[in-house]
């Protein structure tokens, strides 16, 4: 099955900002968040988009 326009993961440093059924990765620092997002981007074959300085999502296009 091909997924399109799906949020595969959420990476954030502020846990209270997000909720829902998507996998959430909570990080302590911005650097950690960027490293996790970079890894997930490669693993999930999606694009890391920044919604704010504290919130990244990985989207499969």
């Amino acid at each position: 099955m091909m997924l399109e326009k799906v949020v595969l993961a959420i990476i954030t440093t502020r846990k209270e900002k997000v909720s829902g059924s998507t996998s959430v990765f909570v990080c302590d620092t911005t650097e950690e968040m960027e490293a996790v997002a970079a890894n997930l981007e490669a693993i999930l074959d999606g694009i890391a988009h920044a919604l704010s300085k504290e919130l990244y999502i990985i989207v499969k296009h």
Binding site: E34, A42, G46, I47, H49, A50
Partner: protein
């Protein structure tokens, strides 16, 4: 050997030569390699034979022979299907796909060129039989000139102004001039894009070509041609590094974002200028208003 031998030979020879002449390739085109060429030269030979033999058949009052041309038509429609299928299959493995509109354009060209061969052979043989060999040669030269003139359509440089424009980020948003391209989250990707990316703004020369360059197939064709000619800085598993074209809704300009491996803006501009305007993307809105340019 009879009175038709030489006219038939000339017709087939000229027809096949016309097909070979129209099979010129460069690095953007298909077929690039020998086997693909052999298929098309052989089909060109068959087309030439069909066109040529129609003339003596009519002269011998064998009118049913004309039905062979109907057979030819279905045969060459099959060529179009074959090209479409092959190219669509291969497209899934391209780093930057051609897109269906481009593929359809190529398939149409293959079919129509076989009809041009039939027409050429028919005319050459008819001229030879009706007049003499020199009339046949004259018609052959005329057909070559006509094919050379009508073989290629418009190029992008005929309908747009191309200007290089620097890429910049506003937050996570990537922009070419004031046209938003995409959201790139990771700073590391942003650096790669600023290092390897290149931006161009294509401004339509007339109002009427706005919808042509807005066509998604036409845009994909630009990206494909640039990526084939200059290489592309991407791999499978790096979806963030994808060349894209977005449109300015206010004035119809399009922003081209590419990631060429060969960092040569002049060459990139030249490649974009030479992208064919796809037949299927051409719209003629002016005709709707009685030919007025609106």
């Amino acid at each position: 050997m009879n009175e038709y031998t030489y006219p038939i030979l000339l017709g087939i020879l000229v027809g096949t030569s016309v097909r070979m002449f129209m099979l010129r390739t460069d690095d953007r085109q298909y077929p690039t390699y020998l086997h693909g060429k052999i298929i098309h030269v052989s089909l060109g030979f068959i087309a030439a034979a069909l066109g040529t033999i129609a003339v003596p058949s009519i002269m011998e009052k064998e009118f049913t022979a004309v039905t062979f041309l109907a057979l030819a038509a279905s045969q060459f429609r099959e060529v179009r299907n074959m090209e479409r299928n092959t190219l669509s299959e291969m497209d899934a493995f391209e780093l930057v796909p051609r897109g269906n509109t481009y593929i359809e354009g190529i398939a149409i060209a293959f079919e129509s060129r076989n009809y041009l061969v039939i027409f050429t052979s028919f005319s050459v043989t008819l001229a030879y039989l009706a007049f003499n060999i020199w009339a046949g040669v004259g018609v052959a030269i005329a057909c070559f000139l006509l094919c050379a003139k009508y073989m290629s359509g418009f190029k992008l440089e005929d309908i747009v102004e191309i200007d290089k424009s620097p890429l910049h980020f506003e937050g996570a948003g990537l922009y070419v001039d004031n046209i938003y391209i995409m959201n790139i989250g990771l700073p590391e990707r942003q650096e790669e894009i600023l290092k390897y990316g290149m931006g161009f703004i294509l401004t339509p020369k007339h109002f009427k070509v706005r919808s042509t360059i807005a066509n998604l197939g036409q845009r994909q064709a630009i990206l494909h041609d640039v990526s084939v000619s200059l290489g592309v800085f991407r791999d499978s598993g790096t979806p963030a590094l994808v060349p894209l074209i977005k449109r300015d809704l206010n004035d119809g300009r399009i922003g081209v974002f590419i990631l060429p491996q060969l960092q040569d803006p002049d060459r990139a501009k030249q490649v974009i200028a030479n992208v064919p305007v796809l037949e299927n993307a051409i719209k003629k809105p002016a005709k709707r208003y009685g030919g007025r340019n609106v």
